[in-house]
């Protein structure tokens, strides 16, 4: 099973990310692309399947139909590390839509984005293949102080330290 960083440790990834909207669904726990979730997600849940969804970087939380607050996992895709839309999408999911479960950066984020991703509400990360996830844990601690509010920090520096 592929490795995943989740809540600060390296774990086996037990979810299968579905990328095709058509065709037979694999067995196991499924992260559905948005179109498939909107079409069949709740029906699959009623069949007893464990279901999460993932958003491409040009899809917004407002595009998600149905009740997604209780989903165990929502993924947000970083198709390349340079596509930073997911940082905003993560903050919106956490801060505007109140999503509390696993928020996973999928695709190709890089190790040196981990601290930014954390601040934007992500707690799980797929990394590009050439990164050793165990070594990458160190990058979660690149910064121990910050100026701005974000998901991890309700108050800006000027309200914390004066």
């Amino acid at each position: 099973m592929p490795k995943l960083i989740c809540n600060g440790t390296v774990v086996e990834d037990s979810w299968v990310r579905v990328t095709e909207v058509a065709g037979e669904l694999p067995a196991g726990k499924l992260l559905l692309p948005l179109a498939l979730w909107n079409e069949r997600g709740e029906a699959l849940q009623r069949e007893g399947r464990e279901i999460g969804l993932w958003l491409a970087s040009d899809q917004l939380p407002e595009d998600i139909q149905g009740d997604f607050a209780q989903l165990p996992v929502i993924g947000v895709e970083f198709p390349t590390y340079a596509d930073g839309r997911g940082f905003s999408i993560g903050r919106l999911l956490r801060q505007r839509y109140g999503f509390r479960n696993e928020l996973r950066a999928v695709g190709a984020p890089i190790r040196d984005q981990l601290s930014y991703l954390c601040r934007c509400g992500f707690n799980a990360f797929e990394l590009a293949e050439h990164y050793d996830p165990q070594a990458a844990l160190a990058s979660l601690r690149d910064f121990t102080a910050s100026y701005q509010t974000a998901v991890d920090q309700e108050l800006p520096k000027f309200r914390r330290h004066g």
Partner: protein, 551 residues
């Protein structure tokens, strides 16, 4: 001047450690070239034509003498003993070794400096008026606001991988000297009818491939809301700015596509979610930021005596009079003046300064200007708080150092990017063009007769030399592997920013000074009393200028 607290220091030190580790991993082959590119750019490190180039941040152009001495030391120890001041008020080193950059950053951190976000697709250095705090026409000192916004933008986790770079400029005076109309966001500090402080907000200006004058999206935003409002603008840009084509990725393209009115409407809608959230500024934070930019301990100067002294000396010494007229600017404090140090000595690339000169300038700042120096987007330096009875002494010392060229604001005060001599993006060289022009037009009487004239040169359409807003703009273009130069006329910066028009087919490098001479002769012949070159151009239109240039 702003001084770091323990958290500021911690953040900069953690950045040094992070970049040291990134560099180590890159050299060990653990990071791909393309990925390291993004990481090093966010630290201002380019791989250039000849060597890496490191761009060091000078927030809103403010430097202390000890910081300038440190830059001198770094340029000497890690580079070839000189640095280059840029049109974004920063400093560039042209020859550092990649392996040394972590040590350079550590040296900078010791004097509260860094290279954070000086490049890359993120929020860049905030720029402002070089006469902030001293200009007679200033309504509000923009520097505390720049510092507040600098902190907000530093490692903002949501906006580090934007579609493209993002530049913000702030003005607080009647005359805009920060070019706010040609920035991604331009902010103008204003008071409303009730006397409340706030910002006029412009969005979507910029130069580069598609020059645009920014559009006002809000006439008045109460000042305490600035961070949440910026966050709303940046979020829209991050989510909806184009990422399919880097030449169409700046916010100006998004604002144009959406229409400024619709863009403004969507900013307001996003801001409704953010307004009054904890990022709203507190009175205490505003007061804290302002406390770093207080009036220095000005001496009382006998105005009659100093006036007589300077007048007498001007009569005896023509050169001093010229320098007073061009390089000495008015000051809000009676008996004081702001002095511009010209970095446009003929034969030296505009903006270049050696380590020895930096140290000498730092010494002058300590003696004559409360230990502070400003950098300007025209690539000069300013000593902002000089006692008028010390002007004569300072002038002698500046002349000896080579910074007394009395040409500020004239044709020879050229804004010029590093161009093809250094930059791998350039289509053509720009420094030799600037030098040829300076050599041709070196007669001071002729330069003064021409009066205020902005001549800006860029070596490619990325427009680091701001050619679109020069009264005369020169753009290097590539024609079948050869360097040619397009001439543009009629641009201007400031309150009435205008974009220059292309005169016609481009010229060879040798032709440029001759063509300029013809254009200038037409101006001298046709001008009406009080008209600057740009005024005459705007009155007559392009045709007569075109006729003489291609005759």
């Amino acid at each position: 001047m702003y001084q770091y607290d323990s958290i500021d220091k911690q953040i900069v030190n953690e950045r040094v450690a992070q970049f040291r580790d990134q560099t180590r991993r890159f050299l060990a082959g653990e990071i791909l070239d393309d990925e390291f590119r993004a990481l090093r750019l966010q630290n201002g490190l380019y791989i250039q034509r000849l060597a890496p180039m490191l761009r060091i941040s000078i927030p809103y152009g403010m430097l202390s003498s000890s910081q300038l001495r440190r830059l001198a030391h770094i340029a000497r120890r890690f580079d070839k003993g000189y640095g280059h001041f840029t049109t974004r008020q920063n400093m560039q080193l042209n020859w550092p070794a990649l392996e040394d950059v972590p040590d350079i950053l550590a040296d900078l951190a010791e004097v509260e400096m860094h290279a954070i976000q000086t490049s890359g697709n993120c929020i860049r250095n905030f720029t402002t008026d070089q006469f902030a705090g001293v200009a007679p026409d200033e309504l509000v000192d923009p520097r505390p606001w720049c510092e507040i916004m600098r902190q907000w933008a530093t490692f903002h986790p949501e906006f580090a991988f934007l579609p493209r770079k993002f530049k913000i400029a702030v003005s607080g005076s009647e005359q805009d000297r920060a070019a706010i109309q040609v920035h991604d966001i331009g902010l103008n500090l204003v008071h409303n009818a009730d006397g409340e402080l706030g910002f006029q907000v412009l969005v979507g200006g910029g130069l580069g491939r598609t020059p645009v004058i920014g559009a006002e999206i809000r006439a008045f935003l109460p000042a305490k809301h600035i961070l949440t409002y910026l966050e709303a603008i940046l979020r829209l840009y991050n989510l909806f700015g184009r990422r399919d084509n880097k030449f169409k990725a700046r916010i100006k393209i998004l604002v144009k596509a959406m229409g400024a009115e619709e863009f403004a409407h969507r900013v307001e809608a996003e801001w409704e979610h953010l307004r009054d959230s904890p990022s709203t500024l507190t009175d205490a934070e505003i007061a804290r930021a302002q406390s770093f930019f207080t009036t220095p301990d000005y001496a009382s100067v006998n105005l009659d005596e100093v006036g007589a002294l300077l007048n007498d000396y001007r009569l005896q010494n023509l050169d001093f009079g010229r320098w007073m007229q061009r390089n000495v600017q008015a000051h809000k404090q009676p008996g004081y003046a702001a002095v511009t140090l010209s970095l446009k000595t003929v034969g030296i690339p505009p903006g270049d300064v050696t380590s020895e000169q930096m140290e000498a300038i730092a010494d002058l700042a300590d003696v004559y200007s409360f230990g502070e120096i400003r950098t300007t987007h025209e690539q000069n330096l300013v000593l902002a708080d000089v006692r008028q009875d010390q002007l004569i002494e300072l002038w002698h010392r500046l002349k000896a150092l080579g910074f007394g060229s009395p040409t500020v604001g004239t044709l020879n005060d050229i804004i010029c990017c590093p161009g093809g001599d250094f930059c791998s993006l350039a289509n053509a060289k720009s420094i030799p063009v600037a030098e040829a022009i300076q050599r041709k037009f070196d007669n001071l009487d002729y330069l003064y007769d021409l009066g205020d004239l902005d001549l800006n040169i860029s070596g490619c359409m990325n427009a680091c030399g701001h050619h679109h807003v020069g009264h005369i703009g020169i753009l290097g273009v590539d024609k079948k592997g050869e360097e040619w130069y397009q001439i543009q006329l009629g641009g201007s910066q400031g309150n009435q920013s205008a974009l220059a028009e292309v005169l016609g087919p481009s010229f060879s490098r040798d032709q440029v000074p001759e063509v300029l001479e013809k254009l200038l002769a037409l101006y001298l012949d046709q001008r009406q009393p009080g008209e600057r070159f740009v005024d005459t151009y705007q009155r007559l239109g392009q045709e007569p200028f075109k006729a003489v240039a291609y005759a």
